[in-house]
Symmetry: C2
């Protein structure tokens, strides 16, 4: 194995993403050693049993010797955690995060800047519907995009740090891309935040129908509904923070979504089959593009049929 | 192998569902022989090459000797096809269908009634996002629900026919349930029709955003969007017919969906994190119910991670 990218890394927040980074960094030799801290006693105790690295009793213990500190907490917790971390970090160390929103996350991190650390926000486009330290696995980032939103107008030392962080994520199997935080938030609003909001919403709607029973919704969910329940099973705290912190871009997408839905609704009401055909036809080409880009499995039903679980219309 | 349930079956419409029934009926010995007809010359030619059964040149040839005729065409095509089939069917034979909407489908079939055949509408809650004769496979119905909507006030001969059709679908691996057509349409509006409409709509919305490029949407679709593209890849003709023929129930669900979405939108605009938490939290319990009911795979990301395809928030 070649030399690790970082001698020592520290992970704050030992949930799905934090524990996956710990596992991957060790498995792929990207870090010489890993220390972890989590605010929750329970999570720390569980993390100790999972052999993820050196679980410390305090945040200071985790971050003080680290060359790179990775904050893996919900976006709403980033500002105080960044402040606490920076107070104990050694000069020249890198501070990054994995928050799903980047404008607010970058502001939270930068507000903690003491001039001695190098702040480079980031976001892996990788995850699952589960959370907690047990949910993580080392291959989570393999083949996934990792977006860095480095600060503008920085020096050569900063540029070197961005390169090192890029090398780290590359070692974990990710494809790294840099982007402006505002652009990141607009892109993710439509590719991730709106889909999650819609999924949460349809699940609520289904369970508030008086004319259909809950048991029936579950029983006949193979008609399409169950795919939405997967997305809607994601961590509530994480998603609350995403929506509170990417308000503008999400509301913009939501406005357009509702407008487009009103047009479909009108076509259904007036029996305009041509309009429905036109709208439904172009969606097929987009599925093909997603599969061709390697962003999804081309197997029907995500390959679910092999497990005897069926889909239907 | 025990005796077949039907000596001879005929399938009209040799697409995903029709060809899957043909394959399953032969594979599980549920029919002694299978004949198939499709209006499309091209589909008939392709079906011949697939060894699905006896592909006939006319609808009359397919149905005249059949003990059970299964119409597997889009719902909008059912009325004329049922009329044509009944004109050539032998007395006492069963006429059924697989249409995703049942009130209109039942009316279409019953309007063809000549008093000599037994009409029992049906709908398998099984399918994939693909279509055409090549897309079918014999295990499609294994473990899936099949809903029959028998007519009320019929005699013992009719009841026997319902039992035989139940045995046929059971032999194909399905769990059979009977239901009133209007109830079927209300249940499926929320578990299938609305989810598909929403999926079609979000795909349209994403590709009409001027602020985000198509390539970016595809590239970062692992954030959630790609699951919607799968559902939205379903056959446009089939879905146009579903929406045109289940207007009332779909519009009712859609109205509630929009109302609920407006509440989430308001909570985002005003930063009401408690409301968001409450809504997002209950969705988790519903995912668990779907998995416990055997209606989906409990594997994270539908088990997609094994293929190196990743998900993310
Ligand atoms: N899940 C995804 O699909 C995904 C994908 C990409 C990025 N992300 C981002 O990754 C971050 C973490 O998400 P996750 O899915 O890993 O969530 P998770 O499994 O719930 O883990 C988050 C962990 O952070 C802990 N924590 C909360 N506040 C803290 C604080 N002040 N100090 C230290 N630890 C604290 C939590 O403890 P408690 O349980 O006690 O609160 C929890 O153990 C979020 O910013 C999210 O936006 C998630
Ligand atoms: N796909 C699902 O997930 C699913 C699930 C449950 C139930 N269903 C129901 O199953 C039925 C068929 O759907 P599918 O997915 O199998 O569609 P499909 O793969 O497109 O097959 C339908 C076939 O019917 C043919 N056809 C159309 N009009 C006809 C006519 N007048 N006479 C004879 N053949 C005709 C079509 O030919 P052309 O291609 O030339 O039009 C096509 O080959 C629909 O009623 C649908 O609601 C579908």
């Amino acid at each position: 194995m070649s030399d690790p990218i970082f001698e020592r890394i520290a992970i704050v927040g030992a949930g799905l993403i934090g524990s996956s980074i710990a596992r991957a960094a060790t498995a792929y030799g990207a870090a010489g050693s890993v220390s972890l801290y989590d605010a929750s006693d329970d999570v720390r105790a569980r993390a100790e049993g999972l052999d993820l690295g050196n679980v410390t009793a305090t945040l200071a213990d985790a971050v003080q010797d680290a060359d790179c500190v990775i904050l893996c907490v919900p976006v709403g917790a980033l500002a105080p955690v960044a402040k606490a971390a920076v107070a104990h970090m050694k000069p020249g160390a890198i501070l990054t995060d994995v928050g799903s929103v980047k404008k607010q996350a970058a502001e939270a991190l930068i507000s903690a800047d003491n001039g001695a650390v190098l702040i480079i926000p980031g976001h892996p486009i990788a995850g699952t519907e589960q959370s907690g330290p047990e949910a993580g696995f080392p291959t989570l980032f393999k083949g996934a995009w990792h977006i860095l939103t480095p600060q503008d107008g920085k020096d050569a030392v900063y540029a070197d740090a961005v390169q090192k962080l890029t090398d780290f994520w590359t070692a974990l199997g990710a494809k790294v891309e840099t982007m402006d935080p505002a652009r990141h938030d607009r892109v993710l609003a439509i590719t991730s935040h709106l889909p999650h909001l819609i999924a949460f919403n349809i699940v609520s709607t289904a369970f508030d129908m008086e004319t259909v029973e809950e048991g029936e919704v579950v029983k006949f969910s193979a008609g399409g509904f169950r795919d939405f329940t997967r997305i809607a099973a994601s961590d509530p705290v994480m998603w609350r923070d995403v929506f509170l912190n990417n308000k503008e871009a999400v509301l913009e997408c939501l406005g357009r979504f509702s407008e487009d839905l009103a047009a479909l609704q009108r076509a259904i009401r007036w029996g305009d089959g041509d309009f429905l055909m036109q709208e439904f036809t172009r969606a097929r080409t987009i599925r093909k593009a997603v599969i061709d880009a390697g962003q999804d499995s081309g197997a029907v039903n995500f390959g679910r049929n092999q497990n005897g679980v069926k889909d239907g219309g």
